[in-house]
């Protein structure tokens, strides 16, 4: 908080009394039905306890009475901003069980849709970050480009948000002929727009004052709390599943993993902007190498998994998304499916980040964590 010079520190009142307030469950900056119980000293946060469960739907329990294919449709409803990525996480676990491979074109379709999903999610972050700090123009800017991605997704998958697209051995449809030209046109447009948007927000004095040095998460804490994705990389840990444990064909592309070292709100913002550029880089390589001919799905067979335990982990826009499937008997229903979502550890670390800050800074910190509450409650 670089606001007061050394000699200008205000003296604290001697008789202060702590009090509780609730933030949420219906609060625009908690990004869903999340309740934060705050112990306050004046305007300063002393302690923060998050309460979950307002939209708990019991997805993991429901999965026990569902077939594997039906669970892919259910995974759309977890992190609805990156539904296409959740689909892939589930499907990779099923592929390990069924022991099927994916043709080259199928892999390219997967990577391209993954990166489009990542850009869409980061654009929502960009919009909400500006919106939470009070700039409603920014909110519309972020959603404007996201709309184009959703138009592409709608043409390819048939739905804007709940895509339900990937299947073991490939995907449900081949991409239409218009897909590659559309993505190319979109990338050119986005490059132009991102230049404007960075000019709009990245150097803005209000953003700088409200985010630099706010909500610092140290490297040790980020690892200890199990943070992942941009939050972890903003704290200086170079960990990305795409690089550390490559799935699909991510090892064939040339891209950087941006890492920042301060761990404050501004770094968490910058890292997402940098990741949009990296995703665009991957998409351009995909467009160059995209195979025109060839199968996009391996031979279709019924989704039946042999007895065993299967684990997959992927890097979604929010962080590490892992699926653990336990098949007790050979068949088309799981015994148990567990999902490890990225947002829960981030909210768990919120107390550490927000302590000692003002309540208005909590809004900034929440925005840069970019949590999706339905994914936490499931």
């Amino acid at each position: 908080m670089p606001t007061l010079p050394p000699g200008f520190r205000l003296q604290r009142e001697t008789n202060t009394e702590e009090f509780f307030i609730n933030m949420g469950p219906q609060h625009p900056s908690t990004h869903g039905a999340l309740r934060l119980a705050l112990r306050m000293d004046g305007e300063t946060i002393v302690e923060l306890v998050p309460h979950f469960g307002y939209i708990h739907r019991g997805m993991e329990k429901q999965a026990e009475s569902m077939s594997y294919l039906q669970y892919i449709a259910l995974s759309d409803r977890q992190d609805y901003l990156t539904a296409i990525q959740n689909n892939l996480g589930v499907v990779i676990a099923l592929e390990k069980g069924m022991n099927v491979g994916v043709p080259e074109k199928g892999e390219y379709i997967r990577v391209m849709l993954q990166e489009l999903g990542r850009i869409a999610s980061h654009l929502v972050f960009f919009g909400c970050f500006g919106g939470d700090l009070g700039g409603q123009t920014c909110l519309l800017f972020g959603f404007k480009e996201r709309e184009m991605i959703h138009d592409i997704l709608e043409e390819v998958t048939g739905s804007r948000l709940t895509t339900n697209f990937f299947r073991p051995g490939g995907s449900r449809y081949d991409v239409p002929e218009t897909f590659i030209p559309r993505v190319k046109a979109f990338l050119d447009h986005l490059e132009d727009s991102m230049r404007d948007y960075e000019r709009f927000l990245s150097k803005n004095i209000i953003v700088l004052e409200r985010s630099i040095g706010i909500g610092v998460l140290s490297k040790e804490d980020a690892i200890a709390y199990g943070c992942s994705g941009p939050v972890l990389r903003a704290s200086g840990v170079n960990f990305d599943v795409r690089r550390v444990n490559p799935y699909s064909i991510y090892d064939q592309f040339d891209f950087d993993i941006p890492v920042f070292h301060n761990g404050d709100c501004y770094d968490r913002y910058k890292i997402r902007i940098a990741e949009i550029h990296e995703s665009m880089k991957i998409l351009r390589q995909c467009i160059d190498k995209f195979p025109k001919e060839g199968p996009w799905r391996s031979k279709e067979k019924p989704v039946r998994l042999p007895e065993g335990r299967y684990y997959s982990e992927i890097e979604t826009a929010k962080g590490l998304y892992a699926t653990y499937v336990v098949a007790a008997t050979t068949g088309e229903k799981p015994y148990r499916i567990h999902t490890r979502g990225p947002s829960f550890p981030h909210i768990a670390a919120l107390n550490k980040m927000a302590q000692g800050h003002k309540i208005s800074d909590l809004v900034t910190i929440m925005a840069t964590l970019d949590p999706v509450i339905p994914e936490i409650d499931r």
Binding site: M1, P2, L4, P5, P6, G7, R9, M66, S67, L69, Q70, A73, L74, D76, T137, F141, K144, E147, M148, E154, E155, V156, T157, G158, S159, T162, N164, R172, Y173, D196, Y197, R199, F200, L201, K203, N204, I205, I206, L208, G213, G356
Partner: protein
């Protein structure tokens, strides 16, 4: 939290920000104005006005419907694969027997209210008897209209 800087350094930075701060705000405002006045950057769809030209993509998943020829015959054999594939039990396939004693489709009952339009039924159908149409204006004031019978005729078996 306090920084280890001298008072002079602090005021130097303060004065610098007095200049750069308003300039950064002006930069942001110029972007806003550019988007405000440039008509090429308008992306809004004029929705109720463009209703006649607005077409959904071929793959768009709207309401479930049965593929029928001109006489209203369908390909359904009442095998019940779609019923089993549905995650939320939106489909009830009621089979009956025709005059030859063969199992045919009686009524194909579809509960639109509980349908999530995931499209698993269309994927599961081995005969290609159903599809999802491009209808997207599906709001209604009558809840009873959401329970529908999709087939006009009994199945051919």
């Amino acid at each position: 939290m306090q920084e280890n800087i001298t008072l002079i350094q602090y005021f130097k930075r303060y004065l610098k920000r007095c200049i750069t701060g308003p300039w950064s705000l002006m930069c942001g405002l110029s972007v806003s104005l550019k988007y405000f006045f440039d008509p090429r950057r308008i992306v809004t769809e004029q929705y109720p006005e463009n209703r006649k030209t607005l077409k959904m993509h071929e793959r768009f998943r709207g309401r479930l419907e049965m593929i029928e020829d001109q006489d209203g015959n369908n390909l359904c054999t009442a095998c019940g694969m779609c019923e089993r594939a549905c995650p939320n039990a939106s489909i009830n396939v009621l089979a009956t027997k025709n005059i030859a004693g063969k199992k045919v489709l009686g009524r194909y009952i579809y509960h639109f209210a509980s349908c999530t339009q995931c499209g698993l039924c269309v994927e599961a159908c081995p005969f290609g008897a159903i599809r999802m149409n491009q209808e997207f204006e599906v709001a209604t004031t009558d809840p009873n209209s959401l329970e529908m019978i999709l087939n006009k005729k009994e199945g051919q078996g």
